[in-house]
Amino acid sequence: MIFLGMSAGMIGVLLGGTVAAVVFLYWLKPPPQRVIVPSTMLWDRLLKEKKRNTWLDRLRWWLSLMLALTIGLSVASGIGRPEFSSLGRDVRNITVVIDNSATMATRTADGFTRWDHAVAHAGQVLRQGSAGGRFLILDTSGQAPPGEPGDRRSALEVLAGLTVSLGGEPEFPDLPEGESEIFFVSDGVMVDEAPPEATVISVFEPAHNVGITAFEVQALPSEPTRYYAFVQVKNASYVEKQITLRLSGGTEGGVRDTLTLQAGETRSRSIDLSSFGRGPVRAVVTADSDAFPADDYAYGFLPIRAQTRVALITPGSVYLENVLADVPRLSLDVMKPAQYNPQVSADVYIFDRFAPPAAPRGPALLFLPPDVAWLTRTLAVVEAPEVPDWNPAHPVLRFVALEDLRIDRAAQIAMPAEAAEVVVGNRLLPLVLVSEQSERIVRVSFALEDSNFALQPGFPIFLANTLGWLIDEQVALARAPGRIEVPLPAAAVTNLEGSDIVAWPLSDRTVFLADQPGLYTVVAEDGRRLRVAVNLASAERTSVNDSGLASDEITSATSTVMAGAEPGPSEELWIFLLLLALVLVVAEWVTYHRRLTV
């Protein structure tokens, strides 16, 4: 920690100012008072002997000035915390690499963390260096700014600005060229390789830890609307642990389970989320004496609603009605086109060979809609078109195979001016077109009756995917803590509490920093939305005892600076300076009151 540390220039100004102030105050001393006496005869006689000591008087004046200057300079120097390279130290250059990987956040028995100990050790190593040496602080997560070695003060400032990085891939940094003693302060868990010439200072201390090493909210491929939470829990402690696992949703439901895991054991659970409502899902593991809380939490997002209202407007479609009737948690309202009323309220509208004159008030799936004003017009009718290509990465086509799709007749529709994506076909002949306007639209340019699509095994999955996508039902992106990129341009990011997170909106993506696990919502300017579940969920990070270092071990290659050694005189010089000033002030006070000044 640097307190009132000053640069050499500031010290010079401070000391110069102090000298000037003291000398100025001496000059400001008022002239002696004139007193008339009857005769100076006796005084002259008395002072004759003293006149022999005039040089002593002058010396005393200078001595008094020097004393005042010494006091002033001592106090000023004490404030500036000076260091002198001549105080018994050789000039040495020191490079300290400090491990700030996730496991350094593990709490130790004394209540501090490994990181706290590492910072203390690093600071101690820096302070033990000579004042004339060059110092450099580097870290395993790339937080420290790259640069050449500087003075101790700059290195201490860099050290003070470092934090534990939960994410990323920590590694031993590249060292600059030049002669320097290298110190590596680490717990040896995530970064266990250091150059042989480095002195490794261990801050490792065995600790209890249980954590979630994997967490995912996922639908079964065979049943797209049924979601499960996959949880993997590890006991990284060196003793058996009884662990409580809790899953909770946004508003409804919750699951609690108790596991007993042996030391080092990992266990997985799949938990049905049917009883959960749409929204965030939070998994928490608790165990006694847990020293690494960052992996005790994991977040996901359950996209499906408990009950989705679907309005099917069709002249009659056995395929659609049958498939939709089997979709769980779906309330289906089937009506003829003549019965359609714009006031009909539904979460999703499915128009089969029909389109209302005005756009519906919700997302819609359309099969071969006729030309209406709010849709691009039909250019032509294409007989037996090929299915040249499709995008399996799009959510609506997830787990859907279209190799066997045959179409007798399809409409060649014009591409809309606004952003739209062809997921089946191409821009000349879009067969399935998705667009995200004020409402999401999936437009299929052929009728089910004109193809074998409804007979394909992937059709129910397509319907479930489409329903999910239309009502914005996507699982969250899984990311590790740290720098996160999402493929939404110029988006705003909020956390679970709704607080804004600082983000860097770029033209093609948005970048933000998520230091802690949590569920983040990213919303683009055009309304598109993504959820990002940031979880530590890493067996490597949970294994906080997986270290090759012993507790408080120092593996020294060449260094003579030892962690834990008493600080040198240069470190605490300001204390001695202030003590000197105090002693001089007391001495002056005593001599003044005893009138020993002359």
């Binding site: 002696p32 008072q33 007193v35 008339i36 006496v37 009857p38 005769s39 100076t40 005084w43 002072l47």
Partner: protein, 296 residues
């Protein structure tokens, strides 16, 4: 210094009356003698004593009868009545203006009191104010009726100049003055040294009574740590860093100075009294009386 006309007020005069009564009580009948002293000489009327003849002495007083009987040369001595004058010298130098009350005022009161008693004792009293010479002089007076004249003279004198007793005494007694009692009221702060002045009195064979006056502030001055001391007479200044040790040394020096004056007087058989201005002047006068030199 007090203004003219207020120095010798009624209260002062009452005190003088008191002193006169005390003087009468101490030397009964002294008011009847118009002489200050009787002296044995070879001439006179009343036989006083015999004395061994010393070679060179006038042989007219040799008692030849005794010589015939005893074969020794014996001289007869006779008592001669004298009318010795009193010279009251008061220091009117600038240094006497120091203190509260000023030493000069105190000195004038002392001079006035002695003058008063002397005049009532039918002595011939001279009042002389001196500094580096004779500042002002009131020629010899005798008789009570001269008191007011003497008081007016004392009130008219102002302090100033440097002290030079040798010059003052030499100047005064060089003009064929009679031998008498010289009372010097002064602080004896003479740069040339008081001894030179006293030597001059010895030279003129005068009898001296020294009245040494100083103010309490002189003995233990209250000075700041750093001070520029200015001489009241010479105007010279001296920078001094004052400490208790220095003040102690000064007090010791002052005491030595007073002791030197007193020793000199005692060595020569002269009277010497010393007082500070915070002591009522009548007490000082009584000290003078007790020494028995002024009243005979």
């Amino acid at each position: 210094m007090s203004e003219k006309g207020t120095l010798f007020d009624d209260e002062f005069l009452k005190r003088l009356e008191y002193l006169n009564l005390v003087a009468n009580h101490m030397i009964p009948g002294h008011m009847h003698g118009e002489h200050r002293a009787k002296k044995t000489t070879s001439s006179g009327i009343e036989f006083a004593d015999y004395q061994q003849y010393v070679s060179g002495e006038d042989t007219k007083n040799v008692d030849w009868r005794t010589y015939l009987r005893l074969d020794k040369l014996i001289v007869r001595l006779f008592e001669e009545e004298t009318d010795l004058p009193i010279y009251i010298f008061f220091d009117a130098s600038a240094s006497m203006g120091y203190g509260v009350p000023a030493k000069f005022d105190y000195a004038r009161k002392v001079a006035a009191a002695l003058c008063y008693v002397g005049l009532l004792n039918q002595d011939r009293v001279n009042l002389v104010g001196f500094a580096d010479g004779i500042a002002q002089e009131l020629s010899a007076r005798r008789g009570k009726h001269q008191v007011w004249h003497a008081f007016r003279f004392l009130e008219s004198v102002e302090a100033g100049g440097v002290t030079a007793m040798e010059k003052a005494f030499k100047g005064f007694f060089s003009s064929r003055r009679r031998r008498g009692l010289v009372v010097v009221v002064s602080d004896f702060m003479d740069e040339a040294g008081f001894a030179k002045g006293f030597d001059m009195l010895r030279y003129f064979r005068q009898d001296l009574f020294a009245v040494h006056i100083h103010s309490p502030e002189e003995v233990r001055p209250d000075l700041p740590d750093e001070v520029l001391l200015e001489d009241a007479e010479l105007g010279t200044s001296q920078r001094v860093r004052v400490t208790p040790a220095l003040l102690d040394a000064y007090a010791e020096q002052f005491e030595e100075h007073c002791e030197e004056v007193g020793s000199y007087c005692r060595k020569n058989g002269w009277g010497y009294v010393r007082s500070t201005t915070d002591i009522p002047f009548e007490e000082l006068i009584l000290q003078v009386f007790r020494q028995g030199r002024f009243l005979r």
